[in-house]
Amino acid sequence: MKRNSAARAALLGILTAEALALSFLEGFIPPIPGMPPGAKPGLSNIITMFTVYSVGWHEALIITVLKAGFAALTRGVTAGLMSLSGGVLSTAVLILLAKFSKGRFGYLGISVICAVTHNFGQLIVSFILLGSAAVFGYIPFLIIFAIITGAVTGTVLKVTMPVLLKQIKFSSYKR
C-alpha cells in the first residue's frame, strides 16, 4: 500500500534518528572482558530489521549508510568504515533473507545471521586495514557474541513488531 511521500519521509526520519540514537548510546557500554574490543550489541539492527519488514529495503539501506556517516563524523573514519562494511553486508543479507527465505527462519534466526554477517564485514575491513590474517582469530568469539546479541535484538523485535505494525499501516513484505 502506498502512502503519501510526506508520511514516508517523516517515518524514515524517525527511524533514522532512532537507529543513530541506539548506536550512539551503545558507545557508552564499557568493553566486555574476553570479547573483541569494540564489540557492541548492535541494537540499531532492531530498526534496520523493522524497516526492511515494514517499510522497504531501499529505506533500510539508506538508514544503514546514514548510520555509517554518523559514525564517521562522531567516532572517526575508521569507525565509519567499520559501520559501513558491517552494516551494508548484514543489511544486504537481511534483505535477501526477507525476500527469499520464505519464512524459514523467525526473527530470532534472522537477527543472529545479521549479527554474524555484521561482525564478518567488520572483520574483513580490519583485515584489509591491518594487512594481517591474525584478526580472523577473533571469529569464534565474534560468533558467540553474535548469537547473544542477535538473540536479544531478535526477541525485542518479535515482541514489539506486532504493536509497531498496528501503528504503521503500510507493510511491504509479508511475514
Partner: protein, 122 residues
Amino acid sequence: MDKLAKRSDILLILILFMLALVLILPRFFSSEEPLTASIYVDGELAYQLDLSKIETAYEIPINNTVIVADKNVIRFKSSDCKDKLCVNTGKLTRANGVAACLPNRVLIVLSGGSSEYDAITY
C-alpha cells in the same frame, strides 16, 4: 502470536555455537610459555620480540601509539586515536592474543615459541 523461536532458529544457533566451540578448542592446548610478539605496521612486520627474555619493561613508540613490552606481557599504553580500543584491549599474555589499533594500523600478535633473537627490528 506464534512462538518466539522457530525450530530452524534453534538449529541455526546450535550449529553456529558448535562451530565456534570447534574453532576455540585448539587454543586450550596451545599455551606454550616462551612468547613471541610480532608488531606490524601497515601490514608489514616492524618488530619481533621474545617476551620471555625481557628483564625490564620498555616502551616502543610506533605510528602514534606507544607499546609497552615486559616479561611475557605486552600492551598498548597509549594512542592518539579516538576510540582507544587498542588501549582498552589490555594486556596480551597468551599465544594467539591480538591487539590492534585500526586508525593507526598497528597490530600486535602473540605466538607461542621462542625466537632465536631477543628482538629484531625490521
